[in-house]
C-alpha cells in the first residue's frame, strides 16, 4: 500500500488497539513468572482447563446441531413473525448472562417449566452437572452461530440448489451436499465465535450449573473464585485461558474467518 492512511482513522485505530492490548499487558506483567511452572502443574488448573475445553466444544456441537437448521429456516423460509423470531434469537446477546442463568433455572431447573418433567420422568436434573455447563454455554453462544450462518445462508446462490434439484437431489440431499458446503465458511466462522464465547462464559454457568471443581468449575469460574483468594493464581489461570484461546483462534481464523 502506497497511500498513507488518514490520521483521523489511524489515531482511533491505535487507541482501540491499545485499549485491547493494555489489559493483556497488565496480565502478562503481573504474572508470577517464577512460580508459573509449579502453579500450572496443579491438578485443579488442569481440571478446570479440561472441563472448559470439553464443555465449550460440546456446547459448540450443540449449537451447530440446533443453530444451523435455525439459521437456515430464518434465512430461507418466509413465515409470519420471522422478524420476531430473529429478534428472539439475539436476546442472549443483550441479556446479562446471569439473567440468562436464572432464566435457564426457571426453564430447566429442578422445579423449572421443563426441568420438573425431566426430573420426574427421566430422573434427569441439569443444574450442578457438566451437562448444565454445556447448556448454559450453548444458550449464551448460540446467537453468534445463528447470526453468522444466517448471513451465509442469505448470501448463498440459490441457483445451485436448483441445479441439484434438476439432478434428482431431494431437499435433504441438496441441503447436505450442496447448501452446507456452500455455507461452510459461515458455519466455520460462526462455530469459532461460538466456541470462543462458550470458553469465556461465566455468569450463566455459575448461576445455572453452580460451581464444583472438576464438574462445573470451568476456567472463568476458577479465575473468579481465585481472584478473591489468591489473585496470583487468578492471573495464572487467565494466562492459560488466554494462551489456549489465542492458539485455537489463530489456528482457525486463518482457515474460516474472512
Amino acid at each position: 500500500m502506497n497511500r498513507r492512511a488518514p490520521w483521523v482513522l489511524v489515531l482511533p485505530a491505535l487507541l482501540g488497539l491499545a485499549f485491547l492490548v493494555l489489559p493483556l499487558a497488565g496480565l502478562l506483567l503481573r504474572a508470577p513468572w517464577s512460580t508459573l511452572g509449579t502453579r500450572l502443574a496443579r491438578p485443579e488448573i488442569l481440571d478446570a482447563l479440561r472441563l472448559s475445553l470439553i464443555s465449550a466444544t460440546l456446547a459448540t456441537l450443540l449449537c451447530l446441531l440446533m443453530g444451523v437448521p435455525l439459521a437456515w429456516v430464518l434465512g430461507r423460509v418466509d413465515f409470519p413473525g420471522r422478524r420476531l423470531v430473529r429478534a428472539l434469537v439475539t436476546v442472549p446477546l443483550v441479556l446479562p448472562p446471569v439473567v440468562g442463568g436464572v432464566a435457564l433455572l426457571l426453564a430447566l431447573g429442578r422445579n423449572g417449566l421443563a426441568g420438573r418433567w425431566l426430573d420426574r420422568w427421566f430422573g434427569v436434573t441439569l443444574p450442578f452437572t457438566t451437562a448444565g455447563v454445556v447448556l448454559a454455554e450453548a444458550f449464551v453462544a448460540l446467537p453468534f452461530l445463528v447470526i453468522s450462518v444466517e448471513g451465509a445462508v442469505r448470501a448463498a446462490d440459490l441457483r445451485y440448489e436448483d441445479a441439484a434439484a434438476t439432478l434428482g437431489a431431494s431437499r435433504w440431499t441438496t441441503f447436505r451436499r450442496v447448501t452446507l458446503p456452500l455455507i461452510a465458511p459461515g458455519v466455520g466462522a460462526g462455530a469459532v465465535l461460538c466456541w470462543a464465547r462458550a470458553l469465556g462464559e461465566f455468569g450463566a454457568t455459575i448461576t445455572f450449573a453452580g460451581n464444583f471443581p472438576g464438574r462445573t468449575q470451568t476456567m472463568p469460574l476458577a479465575v473468579y473464585l481465585a481472584l478473591e483468594n489468591d489473585p496470583q493464581a487468578a492471573i495464572v489461570l487467565s494466562l492459560v485461558l488466554l494462551a489456549v484461546s489465542v492458539v485455537v483462534l489463530a489456528g482457525l481464523r486463518g482457515r474460516w474467518v474472512s
Binding site: G109, R110, P127, G210, N211, T216, Y224, P231
Partner: protein, 248 residues
Amino acid sequence: MPPMPRVVVLAAVALALAGCGIASGDERITLKVLAASSLTEAFEELGTAYGAAEKNTTVRFEFAGSQELAMDVDEREPADVLATADRATMDTVAGKVTGRRAFAYNTLTIAVAPGNPKHVQGLASLADRRLRVVLGGPIVPVGRYAAQVLARAAVTVRPRSEESDARTVLTRVRTGEADAGIVYVTDMRSAGISASSVPIPAQQNVTATYFAAAVRSGAHDPAAKAFVAWLGSPTAKAILRKYGFPTP
C-alpha cells in the same frame, strides 16, 4: 430474582458510590460499609437507626461474601468500614484496617425445603449421596465453618456445588435446586416460609464471630471509627439480637 453472583450489581453500585463518597464538601457524610451477606437485613436496619442518631451521616451498604469484600478493600474500591463473618478473612486485610472488634456471633443450621420433604435428620443425613447438598466454597467463611462442623460430626459430604456466599447456598435450597445446604441460623429468617431448617446440635456446631473494622484508606476515618464503636452500643445490639445474632 435470586441474589446470585454479584459482579454486575457490584460494579454498578461501586460507580454510584464513587460519586457519593467524593461529595464531602458539605457537612453530610456517606459511609460506605462492606458487609458479609448474612448481615444484610440486620445491617439495613442498623443503617437506618444510625442515620437517625447521627443526622449528618448516611450509611450505604454493599453485601457480598466476606472474601469478596476483603478483595474489594484490597484492590478495587475505597470503603470506610468492613464487616466480615469470620476472623480469618479480616486477617487477610489486617494491615489495611484499624480498630477491629467482634460485634456479633452466629451459628450454623441445615437449610432444607419447606416441611423437610427429604427427612433430613441432622448432619449425618447429608452424607447420603442421593441428597443434593450445596455448601459454601472452601474460601468462603460459611464454607469454612461448614467444613469444621462436618469434621466435628465426622460426616463426609460431596456437595453438588460450592457457592460463593451463604445467601447463594440458601437460594439454591429455596429454589429447589438443592435439597439441603449449611447456612447461618440468621439466614433462615430471611427465607421465611420458603425454607425450613434442621438444627445442628451445639456440640457439633461452631460459633461464627463477626468482626468490623475501619478501613485505613477510607475518606471518613473518624466517622468510620465512630460507626464501628457504635456497633457495640445497646441500640445496635438490640437490633442485631432482633435478627438472631447473639452479641458480646
